[in-house]
Subunit: 290 residues, 2 copies
């Protein structure tokens, strides 16, 4: 199935910009109408030939598309879904790429667009942000969660076709189950990396002082706060509980060390070692996660 055309991309940062780049490579590439808060990103995308129509406003990008993709931070997505209710063409399918889905679907329902709205969450990202960091291959082989709470079969087919076209692996999930899972799979690793980086900086270490293991552990700390703050705000108490649980495990390991409980430490390290062997995830060189 080909991708609906034109595609409206609202936001040309890493996620939206990479989508525009990936779509431009397709044999039957759709037209792309895009808007970016950063006018320079929009210019770069035009120059790269991956955007055919540069929209002056988000509304203009939303109004001229058969498939609208919101690729801005969560707060901006929620606001735009609220204000764009009279903007979308009557047959347009709408999606977004936010890392939390429950608030987005609530807003889509409130905007009366539930039948045509399907939420997306591509499990990819990078430390760098903006169109300059966008790459066509970023979605290749990546799981993309597709919410199955809303959207008619036509909308589902359109959104799945979009992600399959750029090489991703769409998987259906309920929004609430998705969001509970992301607290652990995405938000907790993000803030654990920030916390570790903060402690290392406090103790005078530079990232260049680390071995490859420490380097891995601090890669996510380079993520753009702009994307994360909305997500963290929307899931605040759940993320706080996850952080507190990690904190308790660290305290327990510290107590094991102070009291010389080597067998307990070994058993714990053995357990987590077995856990890591349980699954092969996406390639490491893609960096952060959105």
């Amino acid at each position: 199935m080909t991708v609906r055309s034109p595609v409206g991309i609202v936001g040309l940062g890493l996620m939206g910009g990479s989508l525009a780049r990936a779509l431009a490579r397709l044999p039957d590439a759709p037209d792309v109408v895009a808007w970016s808060r950063d006018r320079r990103d929009l210019e770069l995308a035009r120059e790269a030939g991956v955007v055919q129509h540069a929209a002056a406003t988000p509304e203009e990008a939303a109004a001229g598309a058969a498939l609208v993709v919101y690729a801005v931070p969560l707060g901006a997505i929620l606001e735009m879904i609220g204000t764009h209710r009279r903007t979308w063409p009557p047959d347009a399918v709408i999606t977004d790429v936010a890392g939390l889905k429950t608030p987005v679907l609530e807003r889509a329902r409130a905007a009366g667009v539930a039948d045509r709205f399907v939420g997306s969450h591509p499990m990819t990202g990078a430390e760098a942000s903006g169109f300059a960091a966008a790459r066509a291959g970023i979605y290749q082989g990546v799981p993309v969660w597709i919410t199955d709470d809303t959207g008619d079969p036509e909308a589902h087919a359109a959104v799945a076709a979009l992600w399959r076209a750029v090489g991703a692996d769409p998987r259906r999930v309920g929004a609430e189950a998705h969001d509970r899972r992301m607290v652990w799979a995405s938000h907790l690793p993000q803030l654990a990396s920030n916390a570790l980086a903060g402690v290392l900086e406090e103790h005078g270490l530079a990232r260049a002082d680390l071995g490859p293991g420490g380097h891995d552990m601090t890669r996510l700390a380079a993520s753009s706060p702009g994307v994360w703050l909305d997500l963290l705000d929307a899931a605040g108490p759940a993320v706080a509980s996850a952080l507190e649980e990690l904190s308790r495990v660290l305290e327990r390991l510290a107590a094991d060390l102070r009291e010389g409980r080597a067998a307990d430490l070994e058993a714990f390290m053995d357990t987590t070692r077995r856990w890591t062997a349980g699954g092969v995830g996406p390639a490491a060189d893609r960096g952060g996660e959105g």
Copy 2:
């Protein structure tokens, strides 16, 4: 400067096995006499042609070498330095690859071999262990800390020449400064990864459920406990303090989330983002760190 020959390698796991492989590739490759607790590793190394003489005991490997490298866990290194005091040839230079240097140097002094002993710590590793995981390229471009508390100039030259020959970057450091730094650069990231993996497992997530960021954060959790337990034991209280400090930062972030202090969260994420930009470390694809 060429590498002293023969080199005695005590332990043919990831570190010792990779050293044997790397030395075998040199144009003027030294002879290698090696011992391994795992007889199968020793056989594999013989079959690969990277060990010329398979020693039946650690003493035999130590007795027949002009440069002895202890590449076994810290506890075994300490024990062997104690028992090998009458084993080393009078002009042999001795080194090791343990991740903590103060206890090793203390033992070398006690064994009366301070003038000929120089500690090494290559900042590399991998999740996998044993000779099967050994690769010739593992030391390429890697910092190797060389302790400057002991060792005469000849010993220093011999140890530096060994590491330079396999592509590493030897750097001199005092043992105590090294060990203080490793608590933060190495032990803390290791246990933070184990702790995160433990929490994720507890909540029913598989490693395959993670994006590339979460995948990075749990890579070290695959490290072999055998190598780490001795290191953690030797630095117990210092590592416990580091874990407690990380725990406190996580608690603070949790409180920021619960109380909606978005500006504080953003400032913290901005700080750690700037910190990550401060240095380019070794390539990520080498995995763990020893």
